[in-house]
């Protein structure tokens, strides 16, 4: 694949945008399912930046970190969805603001 010249900063731009969108979703949504999805988007954007940087230097390290992020995402989703089930059972809603018993 000689002559590939996708500019690195364009990929990082995409990554930043994805991250910002995910963060925005995290802040405006109250449904736990959507919060988890936003987290996935953010993790994914970070993974994109890693892979791009790894590709830029021609090193495998970027992809190694990508795999670690994948692991984190999997574990987080597994636990997070378990919690979703618990919240639904206890509060009969997925609204995060309803589950605010820890208020000071």
């Amino acid at each position: 694949m000689e002559g590939l010249n996708i500019p690195l900063n364009h990929i990082l731009l995409v990554s930043s945008l994805l991250f910002s969108i995910g963060m925005l979703g995290l802040m405006i949504r109250r449904n736990i399912i959507f919060i988890l999805m936003s987290l996935e988007v953010m993790l994914n954007s970070a993974a994109l930046a890693f892979v791009a940087a790894g590709a830029h230097w021609g090193q495998p390290d970027g992809q190694v970190i990508f795999m670690l992020i994948l692991t984190v995402a999997a574990a987080e989703v597994a636990v997070g969805l378990g919690l979703v089930l618990q919240v639904q059972r206890r509060f009969k809603t997925l609204d995060m603001d309803s589950a605010n018993r820890m208020r000071g």
């Binding site: 694949m1 995409v14 959507f34 791009a52 790894g54 495998p60």
Partner: protein
């Protein structure tokens, strides 16, 4: 040129799909858009010379993790009224402040990457190289990742089991 064109198309799809996923009221619709976004990112991975990462993105992210989501959403059996309430929450009054924050963060990131220059790739990083790196210098990280997965497994089993018991 083809790669560059493909990259811009994929990037556009990824961004649009993500925005749509974030703004849907129905969880399943949002999930579908998210999967589309992930697939687009996988295309970008492939284009920048990381075919192994692209494969993992599709198999694990778009496949396994998203399927988990789908299962849970189906178990919860969310109805129409939930959708209606979600829609009501997407009011400018709610997202104006967070949008400003996100914009600020984005502009900072933009500033930081503004001077990055040069092409992204000089070649393909194959699965073999990744595997060598994983079980070479990164073997400790692999161990930690496996521990994390174990913890996630135990945690989700614990939480889910009690849920199922009560249901019965």
């Amino acid at each position: 040129m083809l790669e560059i064109t493909l990259f811009y198309i994929a990037a556009t799809i990824a961004l649009v799909a993500t925005v749509l996923a974030m703004t849907r009221a129905n969880a399943i619709h949002a999930l579908i858009y998210l999967i589309v976004s992930l697939l687009a990112v996988a295309v970008i991975f492939f284009l920048i010379g990381a075919p192994f990462a692209a494969a993992l993105e599709i198999v694990i992210y778009a496949g396994a993790i998203m399927v988990l989501f789908v299962f849970v959403i189906m178990m919860l059996n969310l109805g129409e009224e939930g959708d209606a309430r979600e829609r009501g929450l997407l009011h400018p009054k709610i997202w104006a402040g967070p949008a400003l924050l996100s914009l600020m963060l984005f502009s900072e990131l933009l500033y930081m990457i503004s001077t990055v220059d040069g092409p992204v790739s000089s070649g393909v990083v194959t699965a073999k190289e990744v595997g060598l790196a994983l079980f070479g210098p990164y073997v400790l990280a692999v161990e930690i990742a496996s521990m994390l997965l174990l913890a996630g497994l135990v945690g989700s089993y614990h939480l889910g089991r009690r849920y199922l018991e009560r249901e019965e």
